[in-house]
Symmetry: C2
Subunit: 338 residues, 2 copies
DNA sequence: CCCGAGCGCTAATGCGCATTAGCAGTCCAG
DNA sequence: CTGGACTGCTAATGCGCATTAGCGCTCGGG
């Protein structure tokens, strides 16, 4: 491969020559290694620094990484497209948080966009991945690949998942949203308004977020009733047949679809039925309805994920942290029709 | 610095040992260097490949970069926050295009988030930047730093600006939007409807986009009339005093502000005055009005910027390319009141 | 039987940096 | 006057890879 060689870059040796010292000294000055073993008098130090400033020298990050194993580069892997259109910008706030924190701690972000989509899924560990270029990695996505996770765990690669994940050959570090608590609070609030028959519309299993939401529901009602979303038309039929006064929609989009379909049948929300959404839209779901539910602290999750990751890289312990969701006052939850 | 050393990674030497060949051979196989000089029989090749597959070996990107000067990593530098809130997601579509193309050509994206904000501005060339980790870089932002640009040019670092830029010690490679042409077409359309007195509301100078839009305007009307936006209140006064039937707003947000203020004064748009916006909102500008104007092909610009950049890295020539803007039919341009 | 021409591979080197070991000089206590 | 301790630096090494030069072997023609 012919080296592109954009105008022969400066190296520490060049700086050393210009400053009349050794390359070692330049490195020492650059990294502030003025410890007991190797002390550099202020005069020498200043001379080196001056040359560096005058020449605009900057250390080669690749060489640095190779020699020191540290980079200040954080990987970001998303199982869905990073700048998604199909997911209705659901991931945007996470990235805002990630970016904020990265900027704060002087890290660059490496977006692993090169991961090819194989069989409809992306994988961290694909042919020729560049994981090792980063000091660690943040994982983002609705559903993570379990093989990826367990390999990351066994290889002890520093990473943090945004969103709680089940163990994968070991505990998975994460910063997630506390869905069970959020759902419980919603149920409590709903019952306080007088609702006695509250159904859960969703799968209740599969990806961790669904499991967690459903668990919060199951643990807070006496007689859980789960309705499968299935086909839109069936969904309405099932809900109406269930004879309930309030429905928790596992996905925001389900809540929207349900409400729209109900309206066409002349069933009013919340007049005839209260509808509560669990979480923010992960699919585009245009609606004018202001749903009652909760907000996932997405930005904060992104921020704390980076925080936790940097600590992990510094040698800290893996962390599993759940953040509270914020109650979102809306117009779709009222006392039941008496 | 204590090497984190996450479970002693595999190296080519390990693979070599396992396959009973030399490290050189592994490298040759890995890079498909089966040219005249060094031919590897299929049998050996397969053996090496099998070991690689079995062990899941992946070359260290840092070492690779150091030795070969090539990385398949593209830098992305944004002068505004990458995932902005303040800019109302204006940059989002660019990034979508950039991501798309990067994924397409198997490149990872390095977001230079570590650039500190000094004096309210970011700079590519800051203390300890990581430019050299990437093979090249895409620049994004309303207004780029001219020192950065000229240094990039003189250092012959491969880069592409998203948006046209003036020369900076040499031509700046870019993929931009053809504002002059777009504005000319809008003016032509406006005049075709019967408007004779068309004003330009904006600065008409400063960042290249403003200059280009204004140029398109100046070159297509006989007697240009530029109105300074200035303070909102003054803006309305100036527009009304100008006695025109149509206004081109340099910035989308200006168009919104103007229209809102006019409404409060009882001046209707487009009944009393047509308002045409030039470009998409770069600031949050909530409005129900559907403005007539044009759309910047943001996604396509991002995509082509990456395309041009990769060609540049491969040794191609620097390119300056303008993309057409799409006319956006709206509700704010009608024939003038007779 | 010898020699040149492939063939199939490898030893050696360097990319730019961080780090370890250690050298030459000075100073002071004994 | 000597030896240890401290001071101020540097030579050497290796990180994991790509690349260059070239080695030992076989084979066929003369």
């Amino acid at each position: 491969m012919p080296p592109p060689d954009h105008t022969r870059r400066l190296t520490q040796r060049d700086i050393a020559r210009l400053a009349g010292v050794s390359q070692t000294t330049v490195s020492l000055v650059l990294n502030d290694r003025a410890d007991a073993e190797s002390r550099i008098p202020a005069e020498t130090r200043d001379r080196v620094l001056r040359v560096i400033r005058e020449t605009g020298y900057v250390a080669d990050p690749a060489a640095r990484r190779l020699a020191a194993r540290r980079n200040r580069i954080l990987g970001v892997f998303t199982y869905e497209p990073v700048f998604p259109s199909a997911t209705g910008d659901f991931y945007h706030p996470f990235l805002v948080g990630i970016e904020e924190c990265a900027e704060h701690c002087g890290c660059d972000l490496l977006l692993f966009t090169s991961a090819p989509t194989v069989g409809g899924r992306k994988r961290v560990y694909h042919q020729d991945h560049r994981l090792r270029l980063a000091d660690g990695c943040v994982l983002l996505g609705h559903e993570l690949d379990r093989e990826d996770l367990s390999r990351l765990v066994t290889e002890r690669y520093p990473f943090v998942s945004v969103g709680r994940r089940d163990d994968a050959g070991g505990p998975v570090p994460y910063v997630g949203a506390d869905y069970p608590a959020a759902v419980k609070r919603l149920v409590a609030r709903t019952r306080a308004l007088g609702h006695e028959r509250i159904a859960y519309l969703g799968h209740g299993r599969g990806p961790e977020p669904y499991v967690d939401r459903f668990r919060g529901y199951v643990e807070s009602v006496a007689a859980p009733l789960r309705l499968d979303p299935g086909e839109p038309a069936d969904m309405v039929a099932r809900v109406l047949a269930a004879d309930v006064t309030a429905v928790l929609a596992e996905e925001y989009a389900d809540g929207v679809a349900l409400t729209d379909l109900l309206a066409r049948r002349g069933v009013s929300v919340p007049g005839d039925l209260s509808v509560i959404t669990l979480g923010d839209p992960t699919r585009p779901a245009p609606t004018d309805v202001d749903f009652t539910g909760f907000r996932i602290p997405r930005r904060e999750m992104g921020r704390q994920a980076v925080e936790v990751l940097t600590e992990l890289i510094e040698g800290g312990e893996p962390v599993q942290r759940l953040l509270p969701c914020e109650y979102a006052e809306g117009a779709t939850l009222t006392p039941p029709r008496t």
